[in-house]
Symmetry: C2
Subunit: 96 residues, 2 copies
């Protein structure tokens, strides 16, 4: 079980049309095979620079890799991520 | 519902006595009132500098604040966190 998260800032205000369209498009990533518990996150700690996050869970690394290479994911990155995200950090983890 | 996470590197090797003692002490934080779903995490993405994480959930900000100020938490910070953690970042979030 791998949790994949990414935390980020957007180039546009949180309540802008662009931001809403970005999250509408992001939520469609939940339909990619292998994606579980897809969640859009509002980052609320003042101790880092990020405003938002996305979180999802994969049963295996193979399913995670399949998601990364899935055309719906690469299309999201090309159409929405690159044009909307100002800064980001990926964090992936397993419990122990 | 607030998820509180912190990602960090340790001053000692992952398999050292110091690291094991650190996580044994960290797991006792789960007993502080209000703490739910306490989990020790191994950070596995090569795209950031952190090796480990801790994650927990609080129903309310008041319970989160109570945890922060709880003597068992402040004792853990003084006895284990400061002497073992080399670098860290806190990330807190709510789903939307």
């Amino acid at each position: 079980m791998i949790t994949h998260t990414v935390f980020f800032t957007l180039k546009h205000p949180s309540d802008s049309t662009e931001a809403n369209q970005f999250f509408d498009a992001a939520r469609e990533l939940a339909a990619i095979p292998g994606v579980q518990q897809f969640t859009c996150l509002k980052q609320i700690s003042p101790k880092n620079k990020f405003d938002f996050g996305l979180s999802m869970v994969f049963d295996t690394q193979a399913l995670y890799d399949q998601y990364t290479n899935h055309p719906d994911h690469t299309r999201f990155v090309a159409q929405y991520w690159t044009s909307n995200v100002a800064d980001f950090m990926e964090i992936d983890y397993q419990s122990f």
